[in-house]
Symmetry: C2
Subunit: 249 residues, 2 copies
DNA sequence: CGGCCCATTGAAAGCACTCAATAACAGTGG
DNA sequence: CCACTGTTATTGAGTGCTTTCAATGGGCCG
């Protein structure tokens, strides 16, 4: 089994890699993120150093402070990355979904924890092994640099949000951003499925659940969004939402 | 002159590169950041794609939204990186000093502006040219990936600060962090020289100047810091400062 | 010495937070 | 299928931390 840690992993082609490559080729994340950088033939090498795993809702698969020995690539589902203060205050620093690469932002130990918001599938890469792959496939390193650069842009946008935006602006920014991310090409007024609770939204936006609820209510009263049950939200006025999110009025 | 844009820059060795390499060898940033990745012999290649520039206090050398055609490496001095909202609210996303690399966090356009806090010296690299250097010196790309990773860690730490910390905790965190960065090995109670104003401190910490002032006053009243004139601050109780910054009590 | 800018301090207001109660929902078992 | 129950979300009232507005103080420079 590809998950068996005792398998022979070195060498360009071996049974485990063949199995993994087949899995990789069928992977939901095959044509996004890291894996899209390689063609099918080269996927062997990446597959050879990948271990497939799963996590259930609520399961923590990265713990802040632990030695950062692995990278992760999300193949299916959504997880939250977060940092805690000793007294329980929590800041969610990001949500990661299908195709997203996790673990770049680490020195010797992980600077954040990760918890599955729903059942997820992911690949684990040993950091040193993946570095070995860089020599043969510099395109992977290039891709990782692009990923890191883009994450920095996102992080800086979030700093602006956390440092300077009002509650309503924060919620509007989140909805706008999530729509762009989840369905960039779809009808902008289509209903969104949010995998996170109000509490998690609050921890991401630097607010409390009550304030998030009130901000959503404010947007609803202006008929900018429609709030359904089961974490479904429809954006009725995408243009207005974007304007509010950018404080453009 | 190395600053002359008309010089011939291609080829492994040419006059401009020789001149730049000499400058590079003597550069204050020679043994930090990007440049430290190369030995003196290889510095030619990097020097060949570098343009040296300066900026005076208050001068903006990167403008948010402009096409991101260049990277920057600070050789001397300090600058602030910031994002603005249309109504004037500003968030400083970071301060960069000697040895720091700037511009990784950009898609097609810069996501932030940069302004010198004091007279600075820096190198400019054309993005496409620097990418060309990657092929010959993969270590540079590796180094940039490390830089980006570390910046992500810093950014996530800042998200925790902006989203969840109180005013006093934010100011304590900043002072603690700045001490570690400016003089990691020096006597922790030595006076710090802050190159930024209260206003810039406020824009970095997501506060107002008055709140920063009050937070500093609070730390002063506890004899944790001593506030001098001309942006000088001495840390009298480093342990207490660190404890407060991490909300560890 | 005067003017200007920056920093500090005080008083009042505002936005988000806390506390509290109610409502809606999801999952469970009868 | 529906009542039951625990969880999650909404709404209201009051508090508090930070902001806003305003005035004073201090340093730098012409």
């Amino acid at each position: 089994m590809p998950d068996d840690l005792s398998i022979v992993r070195r060498g360009p082609i071996n049974v485990a890699a063949e199995l993994s490559a087949t899995l990789c080729a069928k992977c939901e994340a095959r044509h996004v993120g890291l894996c899209d950088a390689l063609d099918d033939a080269d996927l062997h090498f990446l597959a050879g150093v990948a271990r497939r795993s799963t996590a259930n809702r609520g399961q923590v698969f990265i713990t802040e402070g632990d030695p950062a020995r692995q990278f992760f690539n999300i193949n299916h589902g959504t997880a939250k990355l977060y940092k805690d203060l000793p007294d329980g205050r929590r800041q969610i620093i990001g949500f990661v979904s299908t195709g997203d690469f996790v673990g770049l932002a680490a020195d010797k130990t992980y600077g954040f924890s990760a918890e599955a918001l729903e059942p997820i599938q992911y690949c684990r890469f040993d950091r040193t092994e993946l570095r070995g792959v860089f020599g043969r496939f510099p395109i992977i390193e290039r891709r990782l640099l692009d990923v890191a650069s883009h994450e920095l842009v996102i992080a800086q946008e979030q700093m602006l949000l956390l440092g300077r935006k009002t509650a309503v602006e924060r919620v509007a920014s989140f909805l706008d951003g999530w729509r762009n991310r989840a369905a960039p090409c779809a009808n902008p007024t289509a209903a969104l499925d949010l995998p996170m609770s109000r509490s998690e939204l609050a921890d991401f936006l630097g607010l409390t659940i009550e304030t998030v609820s009130r901000a959503l209510a404010a947007l609803r009263k202006q008929n900018i969004v429609s709030i359904g049950s089961d974490h479904r939200i429809a954006i009725l006025k995408p243009t207005r939402l974007t304007a509010i999110s950018q404080a453009a009025e």
